[in-house]
């Protein structure tokens, strides 16, 4: 188990994997298969594995999809080095979804199961898409329910429940022949055991140094996010895209993110793309890198994901189309490579690997990471 935040992603991601192909409007998505290898490398953590996504229509109004995803984790991160021991772990996630189209309306249902040695999550999702105004507009309503069980590798009897509910509403709009925009809102509520049983906070002790005690998070969290995005077709056949998102929650975290991207086809079969993403967040109300004493307050956190920081990411991508003349039962194929470089500058999460200084005077931590994706897609 890495981080409670991470586990929220289990079901958010699952819902998106199942729904994304079909969220493009109230039309059934293409029949396609994707086989991906992914790898994350940063802060002495490597996470790699496959992801396989299959989608096939049944008749003219039904489409089924399945996703199998694996994270194989080897971690000696700053959290692990300073408060625990390096570890290896594997998470597998399986998702199934069904889309049903009737007229300008589509309904999607999905279920996802995620398992790792000390965490289980099951999620159910439901979404309705409605085309309006001659298919210029698509309105989406979505709901998700997740039930998690948080365990602890050092205590087999430890088991805590978390319940999550997700409410989403979105609208996408064709504005001109060259421009499409989307506005999305999503509210998420969590209830249960929301902290990480392995994480600790540090506090000043009587020796002039510091000691650790376990984190304590509130048992509820509610968040809201709203985003606006758009994609514009340039005169020479290329595309510009941009997105902005505002987020806040009941833990006092406020975050802003924006990104801009460019896609450029070259000759007949190549597509090059690039993207810049910027993300900033403020800290949670109960976060501190160094508390003044033990049990300094009701809620305690030193999880760097709850600290104040800025994250930047740059992407380079290339794709090559092949087999357009047909490959047996396959219509065509595409191979895609993405490389993302991430840089996170923490404002108030200090690097405890640096010793021999007064507590609180350690340098701030900085994370650099590379994310690589290589995948082959087939349409049939």
């Amino acid at each position: 188990m890495r981080n409670v935040q991470t586990h929220l992603i289990v079901w958010l991601t699952a819902a998106m994997v199942l729904a994304n192909g079909s969220l493009s409007a109230a039309v059934l998505p293409d029949d396609r298969a994707d086989v991906m290898y992914h790898r994350y490398e940063g802060d002495n953590i490597s996470i790699e594995g496959p992801s396989v996504l299959l989608r096939k229509s049944v008749g003219k109004s039904l489409s089924v999809s399945a996703n199998y995803y694996v994270d194989m984790i080897t971690s000696a991160s700053i959290d692990v080095v300073t408060t625990a021991s390096p570890y290896t772990e594997e998470r597998t996630q399986t998702s199934l979804g069904v889309d049903y189209l009737r007229g300008g309306t589509m309904m999607s249902v999905g279920v996802t199961q995620s398992d790792e040695s000390d965490f289980e999550a099951r999620t159910y999702s439901l979404a309705v898409y409605q085309n309006l105004f001659g298919d210029l507009t698509t309105v989406t309503l979505a709901y998700g329910l997740g039930n998690d069980v948080v365990g602890m590798s050092t205590d087999p009897t430890f088991a805590r429940d978390v319940t999550r509910q997700q409410y989403g509403i979105g609208i996408s709009q064709i504005l001109t022949r060259n421009l499409i925009m989307a506005l999305n809102f999503e509210g998420i509520t969590d209830e249960g055991y929301l902290n990480n049983p392995y994480r600790s906070v540090r506090y000043l002790d009587d020796t002039g140094g510091y000691s650790f005690q376990g984190e304590r998070y509130p048992n509820t969290r509610t968040s809201a996010a709203v985003s606006i995005s758009g994609r514009y077709y340039l005169p020479y056949r290329a595309a510009l895209n941009a997105e902005y998102r505002y987020f806040n929650d009941t833990w006092g975290i406020v975050a802003n993110s924006w990104e801009i991207g460019y896609t450029h086809p070259w000759r007949d079969r190549w597509t090059f793309s690039t993207r810049y993403r910027n993300y900033t967040q403020g800290q949670a109300d109960f976060y501190s890198d160094l508390f003044p004493r033990i049990d300094a307050q009701n809620f305690l956190a030193r999880d760097k994901e709850l600290s104040e920081f800025t994250s930047q990411a740059v992407r380079l991508g290339v794709a090559y189309d092949f087999g357009r003349e047909g490959m047996g039962p396959l219509d065509r194929g595409r191979v895609t490579f993405f490389w993302d470089r991430m840089l996170i500058d923490y404002e108030n999460f200090l690097d405890l690997r640096v010793t021999g200084v007064v507590p609180g005077q350690e340098p701030v931590f900085q994370l650099e990471a590379d994310v690589v994706q290589l995948f082959v897609s087939f349409w049939y």
């Binding site: 989307a182 509210g187 987020f247 967040q281």
Partner: protein, 81 residues
């Protein structure tokens, strides 16, 4: 406080959706005709061309950030089919 905020948002957006839905029955003339959507139908204009990759990157970002949701996945598309 935050729960109220979300409820308010949902009420407003739900009302907007209902109004839009009801309006849809009144026969608004599409100002971009179906035969004018060739550019929007180009794969480079898809809001989510590679769902398996998009979901993975959301996973990567949200694992390291506190923010979550509204990642541009709900809605989208051009209704070109």
């Amino acid at each position: 406080m935050m729960k109220m905020s979300i409820r308010k948002w949902l009420k407003v957006l739900s009302c907007a959706a209902v109004i839009v839905g009801v309006s849809g029955c009144s026969g608004v003339e599409p100002w971009v005709k179906p035969y004018e959507r060739d550019r929007l139908a180009d794969p480079i204009m898809f809001l989510d061309h590679d769902p398996v990759s998009t979901s993975y990157m959301h996973h990567v970002f949200e694992s390291r950030e506190a923010a979550r949701g509204a990642q541009g996945s709900v809605g989208g598309g051009c209704g070109c089919n």
